[in-house]
């Protein structure tokens, strides 16, 4: 049963990602990405990461990707044609490279000795594993400083984004 | 007492930098005032240090040793002996003079300029007080940056070329030094089982001959470029000619001494046998430098580059005296470091003063200045004569002791180097003749106003020092004597010990045991 859920979710996740990069239309890309993320969230839940899985859907799919959508709408990219004259590198070469990369990762994973060992060690997770409370406890005790630093990072990002996206005054006047 | 005098002297200029940061850059007057006051207080502090210094005590004084980066055994370890004491005094005096002398010479970017000068002061003093090799290296490199800006921003027409040349030359040397430093670090670990950059502890470590040779070469190259020993000198004329007056004063006065100081403080006591092996080479290069510098400066057309080449010659004397490895040679060498700082510094100041008036430094553009600027000419003459080592001026004491020491170590070297004394008279007097004697051939020289009160104020302390060291150098000698003897003693002692431990060391350094010296991160 679990295996089935895994395979379905995996196929949806991978397929969504693949479709995302193959789309010409960015809006469709975003939608495929959301699909992929939802499938990923399922996998997270399957791995007892309830809290993180819900965050994935709420924050990622809900907020970040909506932001993407807004930007796409804002830019109104419908008519854009991506046709540069000469390809910088042969497409085939690139795909070969990616495939090679994937295969190497797989080999690496296969070579790893510890997953098997851990399989045998794995026990049923405790009921509140991955719940809000234990994760939050960790976050506010052991990882307090990184957590606070993250907030500063976000603040900086907000300021940066605002500054960058803001139109220059004289630029506005020029447009008028 | 939380603050000790050494730390205070070293970092006081940094306080000035912090103050300067809060002054708007348009308030030129207060920027200058702050810089001068800070440098002056630093000078006063160094006088306090001088008076607290016990001239007869052996070893380091005002020593402070507190952990800094404990993970790597790096300590904030400072302390001075007589040699560093004198060099610090030189630094604080010249820094103040350089800052005052820039009063009217620098008109753009004043804030940055004074910040650079003060930063430089901290860096220079830091090099002289550091007893931890890592600290030493930090100060050594920290000095480079302000100097780079001084040449590159406030310099002459070819300033970029000169600044880059200066930095590249010095960097090249100091990177090799860094490698050698790390090697020493790990070597010390396998010797004592402790990670430390402490110089005083390393003095006690026996170093096998092969390693000594390579380490010596790495350190010596770094120092030789800084000194500069022939043929690593070509950055010097360029840097001097392009640097602003204060930059030249500091460069010639103190920066070059870093190299010679490095030899005294690190190369000699740490690598005695290697030093012995390299004595002929360095001596010969020093002699080439003496004669070559003198000859080349004879035919210069620019006063500043003449003085720059004369520095090559003078520093040749310093190196030669050091390589005599006896009390007279070494003491002469140290006193000559001070002398060169004073005399050459004063010469650069004087050249800067006429440059401000005439905007040229070409010898051919001058002549007859004695007529229009008698006070200037008198100063110029006195300083030039001290530079060629006339008795009762400082130059004589240094040169005489150096030659005396060298004569004992190697007669031929002393004879050859003495030729440099003759040549020094040739180029200096010829220059004097063309600049201040003769008829006024250029109308522009006719109505130059003589030195102002501020300019005299800058020069008079140096003139006083010139005669003081020339007539009564005893206070300086008694202070450096224990230090010099200590270095010679270290050389002999470790020389003997190393001879005894030689077999054991071979065991350490054999190829089969090389792994003993490889890095073990977990410190096993």
């Amino acid at each position: 049963m679990e295996l089935a859920i895994f395979y379905i979710s995996a196929i949806v996740a991978a397929g969504g990602a693949l479709m995302m990069i193959l789309q010409r239309n960015p809006v469709a890309s975003v939608l495929y990405l959301i699909l992929s993320l939802v499938a990923l969230a399922v996998l997270f839940v399957q791995l007892s990461a309830l809290f993180v899985g819900s965050l994935l859907i709420i924050v990622y799919a809900g907020a970040i990707l909506v932001l993407f959508l807004f930007v796409i709408m804002l830019l109104n990219l419908r008519g854009e044609k991506f046709t540069s004259e000469k390809p910088i590198l042969d497409k085939g070469t690139k795909i070969t490279l990616v495939v090679l990369f994937f295969m190497e990762l797989v080999i690496l994973i296969k070579q790893m000795a510890f997953p098997q060992r851990m399989d045998s060690l794995m026990t049923q997770a405790s009921p509140d594993f991955g719940g809000v409370e234990p994760v939050a406890t960790l976050l506010y005790t052991k990882y307090l400083y990184p957590f606070e630093l993250t907030s500063i990072l976000l603040l900086v990002a907000i300021v940066g984004a605002v500054i960058m996206a803001k139109r220059d005054k004289n630029e506005e006047e020029g447009e008028r | 007492m939380g603050l000790d005098i050494l730390t205070l002297v070293t970092f006081f200029p940094l306080l000035g930098i912090i103050l300067l940061l809060f002054v708007p850059k348009t308030q030129v007057g207060s920027i200058r005032a702050i810089a001068i006051i800070i440098a002056f207080i630093t000078l006063l502090l160094s006088f306090v240090m001088y008076s607290l210094f016990d001239p007869f005590a052996n070893g380091m004084q005002f020593e402070i040793n507190i952990p800094w980066i404990t993970a790597f055994g790096i300590n904030y370890h400072v302390g001075i002996d007589g040699i560093s004491l004198l060099l610090i005094m030189l630094t604080t005096i010249l820094s103040l003079i350089a800052i005052i002398s820039s009063w009217s010479a620098i008109t753009t970017g004043i804030k940055g300029y004074y910040i650079s000068l003060l930063l430089l002061e901290t860096g220079m003093i830091g090099v002289f007080v550091a007893l931890d090799l890592f600290l030493f290296y930090v100060f050594w490199e920290a000095m480079l940056i302000p100097m780079y800006f001084l040449i590159g921003v406030w310099g002459g027409p070819r300033k970029i070329y000169a600044a880059i040349k200066f930095v590249l030359f010095t960097m090249f040397g100091s990177l090799l030094m860094l490698v050698a430093l790390l090697y020493l670090y790990f070597m010390y670990h396998s010797y004592s089982g402790e990670y430390s950059f402490d110089l005083l502890k390393m003095y006690q470590m026996p170093i096998p001959m092969g390693a000594q040779t390579y380490l010596f070469m790495a350190f010596a190259l770094a120092f030789a470029i800084k000194v500069p020993i022939w043929p690593f000198h070509t950055w010097l004329p360029d840097a001097h000619v392009e640097a602003p007056t204060a930059g030249s004063v500091i460069l010639a006065g103190v920066l070059l001494k870093m190299g010679t100081y490095g030899f005294v403080r690190i190369c000699l006591p740490l690598f005695p046998q290697a030093t012995l092996e390299f004595v002929p080479l360095i001596s010969i290069l020093a002699i080439i430098g003496i004669i070559y510098g003198a000859l080349v400066s004879m035919v210069q057309r620019d006063v500043k580059s003449l003085i720059a080449f004369s520095s090559v010659s003078h520093l040749g004397f310093v190196m030669l005296g050091m390589m005599a490895l006896n009390v007279q040679g070494l003491e002469g060498s140290v006193i000559q470091m001070i002398n060169h700082g004073i005399s050459t510094g004063a010469l650069f100041l004087l050249v800067g003063m006429i440059y401000e008036r005439r905007h040229t430094r070409m010898i051919a553009d001058f002549g007859g200045l004695s007529k229009s600027m008698p006070v200037f000419s008198t100063f110029f003459m006195i300083v030039a004569l001290s530079s060629i080592g006339l008795p009762l001026t400082n130059g004589f004491v240094g040169e005489f002791l150096i030659l005396l020491g060298t004569f004992k170590a190697n007669t031929l070297y002393a004879v050859l180097a003495s030729i440099g004394v003759i040549l020094a008279a040739c180029y200096m007097l010829w220059m004097l003749q063309r600049v201040i004697f003769g008829k006024i051939t250029n109308v522009a020289n006719e109505n130059l106003h003589d030195l102002s009160g501020r300019e005299k104020l800058v020069l008079i302390p140096l003139i006083i020092l010139i005669f003081w060291i020339g007539i009564y150098p005893k206070p300086f000698f008694i202070r450096m004597e224990p230090a010099v003897k200590n270095i010679l003693h270290l050389m002999q002692k470790s020389g003997k010990e190393k001879a005894q431990n030689f077999e054991e060391l071979k065991f350490y350094m054999d190829g089969s045991k090389a792994s003993e010296y490889t890095f073990k991160p977990d410190g096993e």
Partner: protein, 645 residues
């Protein structure tokens, strides 16, 4: 009581400081008062010390004062100390006495010069340096004075610095002296590292123990010291600067380049007699160089027309005499001649200065003549000095010169050849000095009309010193009347405590050992005087009686005359073989070695790196996807390494 010695050099130093620091703010009266007064005070203190000295018993005649430790460096310790013994007493009196007279003379001579204050500043500094030289109690302090007088000589020769020839001459003097100093200082090194001290007391006591008689070390040391002496005292091969030094004001020539500074070499050798006596071969060299210089300079002096140049070559020649004396171990005779020479040569120079003053700066004897009528005092005093230098009995020069001639003949180190050359030189000296007198004071008045009308005797300020010096030139010799003439040679006896190197056994012993009788000495004395008189008559005949003959003679030997007149072209030779190659070589070093070779290699390296980088930067296409692709490729390679390892 004991602390008065340092006053001797201190007074001129104070004078120097006062005049120097307030340069341009004092009036002329005050300047001259300070300058002359300070030297005068030195002389008085010197005199007082002198009497104090002779009141001491003979063997303890030395007063030493240590002021402070100068350079302490390990075992090398040199102090600032003064030593007053018979030798330095004589030198102090000569220097401050003659110096005082010349100061006074200068007040008149330099009266209208714009650099009046500067002149006296330098002059006082000179006296200070010279007194330090002669009073020093160790070699290094002597070297201080040694270089100090060189500096003053440089400053005073180039006093009229706007004249290129003057500043050239000053520079030349300094550099040539430096070459000598180079030898001096190396000599000191040898002495120090063997004796471990530079104090006279220790050196002279320990030297005979340390150095083997005639050994290589002591020979080298003394030769090097002698090299220093040849520079300072203008001997072959370093004499070339002295004739040029005449560019300075005439009183300077009198003081520095005749009476005092140039004799420092003689003083130094006399002072080091212990060392020199240990090195017989050096003594031979000293004697030969001395006599050769005397001969060469006298020869050149024969053909010069510039009045000061003749005197300059004459000085060189006389200095050669003194060295000859030292070379034959007659140090006392050398010092004796030094003293008398100081009197009459200073007088000659001052007299010539008076002449030049009267002729408004004319120095060429071809445009003088007949001045006897116009300048009585100058003429008389000048004539006395000429008689003295020529060696006419009864004047000071006779006694000292004869002493040297006799010692050259009789001493163990002397030989008949040295004596012959010395005698020949004496004859030439008489000849050219009288030529000078005759050309200047006798015959027709050859100057132009304008000058002729303004001919005048010099002011009192100048003639009084001349007269005093004239008296000294006459009586100065009576302190050293030789035994043979019934005197006791007080002078030599007085110096005996200093001359430790020379074996004393009284005159009889010396005579016995060299095997010469009193008769020989008298014969030689009268013979030489007779020859000198002949030589003077010859001069009289040629330059007063039969003037036309000179021109004919000159034409008949025009080749030789040209060489002599051109001073054997030594200057040109030095210029061609030393100075020009040096400058050319230096240019080569700078332009080729420095700029092309060293910097070329480095800049070449920089350019090479730059070129490589130019190629490498092509990789920076600026295209995001290409960077990403390369990045990925890199990752693939690295992971591949781990995966497939």
């Amino acid at each position: 009581m004991n602390q008065t010695l340092f006053l001797i050099p201190l007074f001129p130093l104070i004078g120097f400081l006062l005049n120097g620091l307030f340069l341009g703010r004092l009036n002329k009266k005050l300047i001259s008062l300070i300058a002359c007064g300070s030297v005068g005070l030195s002389f008085i203190v010197g005199l007082k010390m002198f009497f104090q000295l002779i009141s001491l018993p003979e063997n303890t005649r030395a007063i030493e004062e240590i002021l402070f430790t100068w350079i302490p460096s390990g075992e090398f310790v040199v102090s600032f100390g003064y030593l007053f013994d018979p030798l330095s007493a004589i030198m102090v009196l000569v220097v401050s006495g003659v110096g005082f007279l010349i100061h006074v003379y200068s007040v008149g001579y330099m009266h209208d010069d714009p650099g009046y204050g500067r002149y006296f500043t330098y002059l006082n500094l000179f006296i200070f340096a010279m007194l330090t030289l002669v009073l020093a109690n160790n070699y290094l302090l002597m070297f201080v004075g040694w270089e100090g007088v060189g500096l003053c000589s440089y400053l005073l020769i180039g006093f009229w610095f706007e004249k290129k020839s003057a500043s050239d001459a000053g520079k030349k003097a300094f550099i040539v002296n430096r070459i000598g100093d180079f030898g001096f200082i190396l000599g000191l090194f040898i002495i120090f590292w063997n004796v471990r001290s530079l104090d006279y007391n220790e050196v002279f006591v320990r030297a005979p123990e340390v150095f083997a008689l005639g050994g290589g070390l002591i020979t080298a040391a003394t030769l090097l010291l002698f090299l220093g002496a040849t520079g300072k005292s203008a001997q072959i091969p370093l004499y070339v600067w002295l004739p040029d030094a005449m560019e300075g004001p005439t009183p300077v020539s009198a003081l520095i380049h005749a009476a005092t500074m140039v004799t420092a070499g003689v003083y130094m050798i006399a002072r080091s007699n212990v060392l020199f006596m240990l090195a017989p071969s050096t003594m031979t060299v000293v004697a030969i160089v001395g006599i050769a210089t005397a001969l060469l300079a006298a020869t050149i002096a024969l053909a010069q027309n510039d009045i000061k140049r003749v005197l300059a070559y004459s000085t060189i020649s006389q200095l050669g005499y003194m060295f000859t004396a030292c070379g034959v171990a007659a140090f006392a005779a050398g010092i004796f001649h030094l003293m008398t020479h100081a009197f009459f040569k200073a007088l000659l120079f001052l007299g010539s200065g008076s002449v030049i003053h009267a002729l408004a700066g004319q120095q060429d004897m071809r445009y003088m003549g007949g001045l006897k009528r116009h300048m009585k005092t100058t003429y008389v005093t000048f004539f006395i000095a000429t008689l003295a230098i020529a060696g006419i009995p009864g004047l000071s020069g006779f006694f000292s010169k004869d002493e040297i001639l006799w010692k050259a003949f009789s001493s163990n180190q002397g030989s008949i050849w040295i004596w012959l050359v010395a005698l020949f030189t004496a004859l030439m000296t008489a000849f050219y000095m009288f030529r000078l007198v005759f050309l200047t004071f006798y015959g027709q008045e050859r100057m132009d009309h304008h000058t002729k009308e303004h001919l005048h005797e010099s002011p009192k300020m100048m003639t009084v010193p001349l007269s005093i010096l004239a008296v000294l030139s006459i009586i100065g010799g009576y302190v050293g009347i030789p035994h043979i003439l019934g005197g006791g040679n007080q002078f030599e006896k007085f110096l005996e405590p200093v001359m430790k190197g020379v074996h004393h056994g009284g005159e009889e012993h010396a005579l016995a050992s060299s095997g010469h009788s009193a008769g020989t000495e008298l014969t030689l004395m009268f013979g030489s005087v007779a020859l000198i008189l002949v030589s003077i008559y010859l001069s009289y005949y040629l330059y007063v009686k039969n003037v036309a003959l000179v021109g004919r003679l000159r034409n008949s030997v025009s080749g030789i005359h040209k060489i002599i007149y051109g001073k054997f072209f030594i200057d040109e030779l030095y210029n061609a073989i030393i100075i020009r190659p040096l400058v050319g070589g230096s240019l080569f070093l700078w332009k080729i070695v420095d700029v092309v070779l060293i910097d070329g290699v480095l800049n070449g390296l920089a350019i090479l790196i730059g070129d490589v980088s130019l190629g490498a930067r092509k990789m920076q296409s600026g295209q995001l996807r290409r960077y990403a692709t390369v990045f990925l490729a890199g990752v693939v390679i690295i992971i591949g390494y781990f995966a497939l390892r």
